[in-house]
Assembly symmetry: D2
Homo-oligomer: 368 residues x 4
Amino acid sequence: MSHNSFGHLFRVTTFGESHGPAIGCVVDGTPPGLALDEAALQRDLDRRRPGQSRHTTQRREPDAARILSGVFEGRTTGTPIAVLIENTDQRSKDYSEIAAKYRPGHADYTYDAKYGLRDYRGGGRSSARETATRVAAGAIARAVLGPAVIVRAALVQVGGDRLEVPREAWDWDEVGRNPFFCPDAATAARWGDLMDAVRKAGSSVGAVVQVEAEGVPPGWGAPLYGKLDQDLCAALMSINAVKGVEIGAGFAAAALSGEDNADEMRPGPDGGPPVFTNNHAGGILGGISTGQTVVARMAVKPTSSILTPRRTVTRDGAASEIVTKGRHDPCVGIRAVPVAEAMMACVLADHKLRHRGQCGADGGEAPP
Amino acid sequence: MSHNSFGHLFRVTTFGESHGPAIGCVVDGTPPGLALDEAALQRDLDRRRPGQSRHTTQRREPDAARILSGVFEGRTTGTPIAVLIENTDQRSKDYSEIAAKYRPGHADYTYDAKYGLRDYRGGGRSSARETATRVAAGAIARAVLGPAVIVRAALVQVGGDRLEVPREAWDWDEVGRNPFFCPDAATAARWGDLMDAVRKAGSSVGAVVQVEAEGVPPGWGAPLYGKLDQDLCAALMSINAVKGVEIGAGFAAAALSGEDNADEMRPGPDGGPPVFTNNHAGGILGGISTGQTVVARMAVKPTSSILTPRRTVTRDGAASEIVTKGRHDPCVGIRAVPVAEAMMACVLADHKLRHRGQCGADGGEAPP
Amino acid sequence: MSHNSFGHLFRVTTFGESHGPAIGCVVDGTPPGLALDEAALQRDLDRRRPGQSRHTTQRREPDAARILSGVFEGRTTGTPIAVLIENTDQRSKDYSEIAAKYRPGHADYTYDAKYGLRDYRGGGRSSARETATRVAAGAIARAVLGPAVIVRAALVQVGGDRLEVPREAWDWDEVGRNPFFCPDAATAARWGDLMDAVRKAGSSVGAVVQVEAEGVPPGWGAPLYGKLDQDLCAALMSINAVKGVEIGAGFAAAALSGEDNADEMRPGPDGGPPVFTNNHAGGILGGISTGQTVVARMAVKPTSSILTPRRTVTRDGAASEIVTKGRHDPCVGIRAVPVAEAMMACVLADHKLRHRGQCGADGGEAPP
Amino acid sequence: MSHNSFGHLFRVTTFGESHGPAIGCVVDGTPPGLALDEAALQRDLDRRRPGQSRHTTQRREPDAARILSGVFEGRTTGTPIAVLIENTDQRSKDYSEIAAKYRPGHADYTYDAKYGLRDYRGGGRSSARETATRVAAGAIARAVLGPAVIVRAALVQVGGDRLEVPREAWDWDEVGRNPFFCPDAATAARWGDLMDAVRKAGSSVGAVVQVEAEGVPPGWGAPLYGKLDQDLCAALMSINAVKGVEIGAGFAAAALSGEDNADEMRPGPDGGPPVFTNNHAGGILGGISTGQTVVARMAVKPTSSILTPRRTVTRDGAASEIVTKGRHDPCVGIRAVPVAEAMMACVLADHKLRHRGQCGADGGEAPP
């Protein structure tokens, strides 16, 4: 048990505070012989990096990932891969207000309640900065999954404004072109206006992220407490500010009839595995992948750090007010998109190895 | 790692198939000296038991729980508590159709894909029957939590019909009186009509369950991958047919502004801990309990077993059709209510012990 | 984490007290499709069963193992296998002395110190009776290992009397013929005389068990904290009354020179894997199997329950004396032989699956 | 599960290769509020450091530990503590021989067999260099244990030459003064002569280390698979070159009678806890601490790297010979002394927290 680790056979441990010397992670269980270098990590890290549009925080951090172990001559060795990201943009500033008062919606109060003290500089361990290490781990997970499994995410709602383009009309290339990871250019433009208004008002908004995996073969996941959807939900819920997670039809399934919700099965082409007429299940039945696209969504709450004063209390329990100044994302959901991908990749990598461990590569096992 | 266990210091392992000789669980890590007997387990089991109204399956199983170990002279000893529930109502019937064909929405296909074989009798391990062992474990968890922490759940939506009574007007006594665990008698009556129509149509509907815990002190949960909300979501998502989970405002938070979503803090009465003006957070900030009521909701999909024929394939890949006969709950969400309570109780018991392990009873620690 | 579980991918959880209704285990992670039935478990259980010679306790327990789950039509399904062994020979007797006084060398005092109470009937959870469940789990582990891996153990020392027959002259068939699991008939006869004297004197003696596995391929085990020898030592040390464990040359290695201790390598026959000139390493280098026979030994202390009075204290701290009456093994090391086999089989089964999970069946992995 | 982690509530994950950029560890679960700084780590690291006498390798590495996270203003925060030790003395040298041939007694062959490739520079991950990170973790564990628990180790055998001074005549101050961690000056001098001869001969010898903990209260450890002795044995066996571990009387207990092995109990002074007349048990009964001194010993094999040529094979399976040149400890057991202390400290810290988690500070628990 470790409060700062997740996964079993592909196991990630992260460490570090927002304003300490460095953050990082140790990834244990990576199979040997996989091609891996720092550039692969950097590609994903750059997508999460702040300061890339006017819609995210203007903090500038190169987020340069350094591999300290576990890779030799460009290949993984099977030993733990440690990744270090130095903290470079730690502005020396006055933290006395945040040290003395609890910011509503932040972890300030609960860390103090639990531990009796906290590293208040920039939110310490509870800062979203830690998600950079998840993205690094996710890049390693992609190497484990190989090219056959594609994990990608998109933003599908900003504040109350939902993407209305149907799933089959999404343009995944567009996701890489606009600052919202939005699969539709027109919607992205609309969200740009919305965000400008939010920023001007000193306010913030929430968002919904959809993350998918194509190419997952049937059989990953394990009943009853190693379910693929269970682990996926836990992984997404562990991301800062996430308040809800759903698989496939999700909450909407509650309102469907059994007939409408059924994903009927048909013989697959060329004698291959069966196909499904629909995917309300989100690619998972009984906790095990069906071979369809795995689909999850997560709801991200509006950024708690806003310019409007909020009532709060001091560490000593006195009534007070607080305005969170500084450089904050008015919609943390945007930069959560590559983080959601990373978490899904990590969960899938873990289950790939777990399935192989228990069932061999193809499921089942010849009797001894 | 165990695919059939959950929790860390309070750890539950379940076993058993729907039509095998018995199902059961082993609960490890229960503190010693707690009063516990079979009657305490039976009270919760009886709430989940089938056949108690016309709205649930007419299968009759006494679900009598027998404690095999870990309790001596009415008190827990600190050793593992094994609970056994014999399967008594295993009708000898013809399983040849379910053996040969995949029921859409069930785990039949994925179990076969993963394991190469499956115990098809009554769904085997994937049957909701397993949740009886969770309820037994939950009763033990309640003993760990003690009377100060109250865990209870209610149904808040059946099909598309939501409970409209505001939370503060709920009648928890009513929850025990109607067959829907509904905190409002009028709504329960309406749902009764709705369910009659569903049953008559040979159809099924989904539901949404809300589960809450009062009396959780601040400080339970642990960043970053032992978050209370993360573990809670995983536990709820592991329940059969659950497709979505949310904490506090959940998905609705995405559409709120930062101002509206903020739970402001005020000095507590009599110099006690601070109070919050609202509870969008659902009692959890940064993965750690705030001292407010912990609030989660889960979406349950409509029962997959319906009387309307659905297209499917046989094990050999041939096109076919299937009608799931037999005694099934037309809304599995109803009997999921006590299961949701049990899972929340287990997660909280685990975190109570984990918090005490790392931080002592009160958080913090005197320096050595 | 579970105090009553061991293993990772092949994970065993045991429960039960000596004089409760039953003891048992849940084995999680068994690959699907393996042939398994109760007879396979019974074969190993019968070797551990008490009352089979005058040298072991005369308690009579059929130790009939019942499989409750995880096996369908004679094959494992991949779901947890629960095994139940009812306690039948619980003589109703007077436990007041053992309840009130601490037996030296027993866990009575430490259980009370830890838990504040204990199930004192027959030693409760600390009774060697629990090892029956390990033997059942070991039989399942053998199914996982298949016929290519042979795990077997022998007694090599009783009290101060060591087996002097060199390893290459052992007769494994003889192990099954004498009551000491001794690979030499003459030595067994000598030990019979020694044990008669010990029993007559109301005394007890210790023993040393050697356990071996042939057919383990190179590559099982994992640096640095999943080492095969580490897990093996932990598993053997968890057996009641074991006070020391060693691998290969063990403690004797400390006195060897580097030259003498070196297991030199030579090209294998027919271009096969290399062979070693010796096996001081006990088949493990760097925590990973070499392909040689895995060799471990464990020291078992003399039975603490003896007929000679020993000084002790009561629960209330008063000076007292105690004589442990009842039916006890004068040398618990004898019946520990099949238990040692079971523990080694479980550890190897776990590492077989773990190796396959991380490295595939053959080690290494094609780059993606 | 993680191959490179140990412990549960106090959990250590290590990473790094001998000749990579750095080695390090992440310690998760440290209680908050403990005084800790880099100097505390350095004190223990300096005791393990090479090049401090002519009897250890002349490699020079400052082994400067840098704390990257988890400590704020001189106190632990409860978040993971990452420690980084840069590798500075990586001589650029020719590794072609070690890359192409397997050194007998080393992990070269097994790493290749398992992973298909290995970082051969200086032994990579299998180098004893990794033990520096264990010592750093051990220093953090000491902070968790506080001043009431004293963990210390001594060398009690070098090659075939045992320390003959009885335990009660040991001089712990002398341990810090001679290069052998020997509690007797005369023996240390004798070992100095022995080691000079060994070094001159280009040979190596093994050793035995005794490690003890005073001040452990009764009640730490947990039956049946979280036994204190089991975890201790696993932790010591995980140290490079260790081939045997024993607790208390250990292997010698096998030759004792039940009467002689019994640690009788007497009323404690001033109504305090009972005292024992002896400590054959090594401070542990039934896997739980008794309150006596916890005593363990481990056997370290002779260094495999010797100047005498040994026969081996190449990666391609051809017959060859190898002489391990370079700077090696002729007795790795010497520098293993502080490592043994560190491992025992880590295990005890873990069990302190685990005991508190399950049983509260004092064992037992008031009924709810």
